[in-house]
Amino acid sequence: MTSPEEWSEMDRRTADRLLRGDRTGHPLDQVLAAATAPATARELAGEADVMAAFRAAAHSPVPRRRSSPLRAAVARLLTLKVAVVALGTSATIGGVALAANTGALPGPLIDHTPPASTPSSEPARATPRQVPTTLPQPAPTTTTATPDRVAQLCQEFSLHDRDTRTRALNDGRFGELVRRAGERDRERVEQFCGNRPRNSPSSGFGGTFGPRPAYSGDHDEPRPDDGGQWSPKPRPSVSVSPSGSRRPRR
């Protein structure tokens, strides 16, 4: 092997120049020049993917700090909260439905039930035994996402804090919401939920997913405001010809 003694001052100078990228006349010139040659098309083949990732990151509200345990805990708590609220919502709907059917609560829900052909059946239906026959009624509607269901999804969605909403939309649970909003995009969905007329029974909870002002805290969102830079502009064709000046000097 080589010992420091063999490394003469002259060689060190040559090495320094090689490291700087100078042409020294040494055969290594060619090796280092080849190692720093301009990019090939193949080396830039991943550009589209990387640009997509950049776009996605630009549209996410806040740069994510990596795997903060606190965030994870908060997310878990939120999930729990959503579950509790969902439970409460369904319980209330059931209660309302029951009350409506007993005639104690005249309201929009009455319209859902087919007009009773025989008034005499009313007392019979009001018996507890009959309740199961009335309960399945909402069932088919949950699969086709009635306003109730959508309102509930909106509500769940609004319970996510801003940072986790985009991610939440990837959850299949919000699939219907995304479909209705037209796009898997946080703002689209927020807008969709915010604009929904709140006339369904469950909208009593709706305060949390009200119109955008409720959570349009755009001040904390470092989105680029420069519309000029963001307006769709024609992309230059991907000409793969970075010049040789890529090699940085110092």
Binding site: L28, A35, L44, G46, A53, P224
Partner: protein, 211 residues
């Protein structure tokens, strides 16, 4: 191409979400990162580079610094992803493959002279990959990624002086491992043979044996 000073602004624009700015950063920096990664993880370099760029795209807004800083930052990310992979693999990539590549290259040509004229990026990286890891990394980060000794030291967790020594040794090893080529121009040959004299003989013998 944009001058390095201009790239400071490009970094800033990209941080503010300018797509074309980021595209330029990618095109400028990706080749260096990819080549560095090829020396570290060989055939997995493309995958690791992709991972690194996803992270770069995601975390760019948390980065603060200029173009020089960006180069160091991205190299750090690339290295971390590579180390993840190496930990998973539990071994360094074998260096035998690149050597075979080199001998193949020189064997394919009539004269060593010709081989040297045809040094490709692949061959150059393969040659550098035959160095001991710390030397290979020092050479790649300094020459190809273009970082100074201090920044390179930060990335490698070593002092700048150690990085300088590793880079010097690496270059000398490289010279010793070059195929015994007659450089294109006679004056260069004279100088270079003096430069590599102590070690060239053994390397030439080794390469001949392989052929």
């Amino acid at each position: 191409m944009v001058a390095p000073e201009g790239l400071d602004d490009v970094v800033q624009a990209a941080q503010q979400g300018d797509e074309e700015a980021f595209r330029l950063l990618y095109r400028t920096q990706q080749p260096a990162l990819l080549r560095y990664l090829r020396v570290l993880v060989a055939e997995d370099a493309e995958d690791v580079a992709s991972e690194a760029w996803l992270q770069i795209a995601r975390d760019l807004r948390t980065f603060s610094g200029d173009w020089d800083g960006f180069r160091g930052w991205t190299a750090t990310i690339a290295r971390h992803r590579a180390m993840d992979l190496l930990r998973a693999r539990r071994r360094r990539p074998q260096v035998s493959a690149p050597v075979e590549y080199l001998t193949e290259l020189s064997a394919g040509d009539d004269t060593a002279d010709r081989a040297m004229e045809l040094v490709t990026t692949d061959a150059a990286l393969a040659l550098i990959a035959t160095l001991p890891p710390e030397q290979a990394e020092a050479v790649m980060l300094r020459v190809v990624v273009g970082l100074d000794a201090t920044t390179t030291g930060r990335i490698l967790g070593r002092r700048a002086g150690a990085v300088r020594t590793a880079a010097y040794r690496g270059l000398r090893q490289l010279a010793a491992r070059l195929p015994p080529a007659a450089p294109p121009r006679p004056p260069e040959q004279r100088r270079s043979s003096a430069w590599t004299d102590p070690v060239t003989t053994s390397a030439a013998a080794a390469l001949k044996e392989m052929r």
